[in-house]
Amino acid sequence: MTLEADPLEHERASWKPSPGLAVAVPDPVRDPELPPHRARITDKDPAAMTRAVRTVYTLFYISVAASIWAIVAYFLFPIEDGSLVSIRNNNLFIGLGIGLALLAIGLGAIHWSKAIMSDKEFVEPRHATRGRDTTRAAAVKAFADANEESGFGRRVLVRNSMIAAVVASIAPGIVLFRGLAPFSSEALPLAGDPVALLSHTMWKEGTRLAHDPEGTPIRAADVTLGSAVHVIPEDLTELGHTEGYLEEKAKAIVLLMRLLPEDLNETPERADWSYDGIVAYSKVCTHVGCPVALYEQQTHHLLCPCHQSQFDVTNGAAVIFGPAARPLPQLPITVDAEGYLVARSDFTEPVGPSFWERH
């Protein structure tokens, strides 16, 4: 076939075979055409059409009824003070009404369009995506003209210095983002130093261990064998919520357990970190920071519920299962003159999950 006389030349241009082919291919993919029209039952059988029509307007009437029901339910099932059942009924019946109303509108509209409306297929012809060669050439020429007239390609120094200026103008904005993070101040000397914040907790030498949440101190004699006590520093309750109560509590929580002294395998360096079988470990998991408090009294295992890390309390809370990388930090404790449990010092390592500066 001749290419010049082809009226649809630009349509077929994208797949045009190169002159090297021996066989001229008119259409590489045969047009599958539309599938044969399949008559619907509503077109073939007038009774079916009547049924469909009836279904659709019934659905719309149901929708009206459901909307009215939702209004009636609002008055029939008021929320009464102090009654959870009334809340439940109110929500349930109003919700059912509104839900059914909207669902019925949708179902009716779709059934109408599928079964009743005309389903004749028709074809909308579209032109090929590839533009004419003349158009393409004109576009290329426009870019070339612009380049030449502006001198962007030719004047290297002008162009590069402009790029440098634009990039440099963004740089102060990026640096100023530091201002969004907290700064240290007199009142909060560590606020601007996240590494220091993560590395230290409220515990100090002599801080009494106290019950969570009341803050009452704990006597060693009150912790009997098999106990698991949830502990906060005694001075935590003096902090208000705007003074960092939750932030400090999140680092300082400790689980206190009592085991038989012969069950504890302590290293010589940590021999005085426990008191007569009473040990204190940080409750913040070293994996992602969930509180590890599922203590199994007979197996002496601590389970973290989030990702199932398990720690063996008899062996310095070493990790025996799960994704945690490090044992739980141990709080060194002793007893003061009145018999209350006190911390010997802060934790000797940061509590909780790993971070970059932690080695």
Partner: protein, 266 residues
């Protein structure tokens, strides 16, 4: 021949005969078992109530418990010593059916109770008199009239990590679990806190005062009666059960509706 008969492919026996035989066999066996267990349960209740003494308790103990716990409560390789557990522990363990222990396993599960109320009291009296320990609480602690809000806060701090925030129970390691608390009686709640059964830690009266325990029990009793204001609680298990429900039913229905919308009408 008046009528042509087809040659039978399976002999004179109907193909349903095998199924019918198995069905009848199952019915007979099941019925016999059900009748026998009903008879056994019935005999338990028709016993005459009599006050049992600690001596009767000692005999019951030696017959049922001493194999694992030793004749003098000293313990064996199979079971720990019962010195100092007190009658409250006996009440909890035997009254919930956990003891006599089903098998040496990570968990001592709750199962049907094997002794009557009087027998349990008798065994408890014997254990208490041999080696005293925690005893029954005053009625006030179990009355459910404490501060429910405070009790719920204490529950969240001390108990919810194992028992779930709504007391629906939770998994521990290696096949152990903390059971659900929706059927637990106030006495058993108190007993479990004080005695620390199996792997549950001990919450003595210095860790959780009597008032604290009363508040926690009140909160749990309230939770047992509580109506969920939000509809299906799905076991109060949180994201797992709710996620399963939505992914299977919710998204399933959505996909089905989507397919229906785009399908051609009949």
């Amino acid at each position: 021949m008046a009528r042509e008969t087809k040659p039978r492919a399976h002999g004179r026996r109907s193909p349903w005969a095998a199924a019918a035989l198995i069905g009848i066999g199952l019915l007979l066996t099941g019925g016999a078992y059900a009748g026998a267990s009903a008879a056994m349960a019935a005999t338990g209740e028709t016993q005459v109530r009599s006050a049992l003494t600690a001596e009767d308790g000692e005999k019951l103990f030696q017959a049922n418990c001493a194999t694992c716990h030793g004749l003098d409560l000293q313990g064996t390789e199979a079971g720990p010593s019962l010195y100092g557990v007190g009658e409250l522990a006996v009440e909890f363990q035997v009254s919930t059916g956990r003891m006599p222990l089903q098998a040496q396993a990570p968990q001592a599960p709750q199962k049907p109770v094997q002794f009557t109320e009087d027998q349990i009291r008798a065994i408890g009296a014997y254990v208490q008199e041999t080696a005293p320990g925690p005893s029954y609480p005053s009625e006030e602690i179990l009355d459910g009239g404490g501060d429910v809000a405070r009790g719920a806060e204490l529950f969240r701090i001390n108990c919810a990590m194992c028992h779930n925030v709504a007391g629906a129970g939770g998994a521990l390691t290696e096949g152990k679990y903390a059971p659900a608390l929706d059927q637990t009686s106030a006495l058993h709640m108190y007993a479990a806190m004080v005695t620390g059964p199996q792997n549950m830690p001990v919450f003595n009266d210095m860790t959780l005062t009597a008032e604290d325990k009363r508040d926690i029990i009140s909160a749990l009793l309230f939770q047992q009666e509580a109506v969920s204001p939000g509809g299906f609680s799905l076991g109060s298990l949180g994201p797992v059960s709710e996620g399963l429900f939505i992914w299977i039913f919710g998204i399933g229905v959505l996909i089905a509706v989507t397919v229906w919308i785009t399908a051609k009408s009949n």
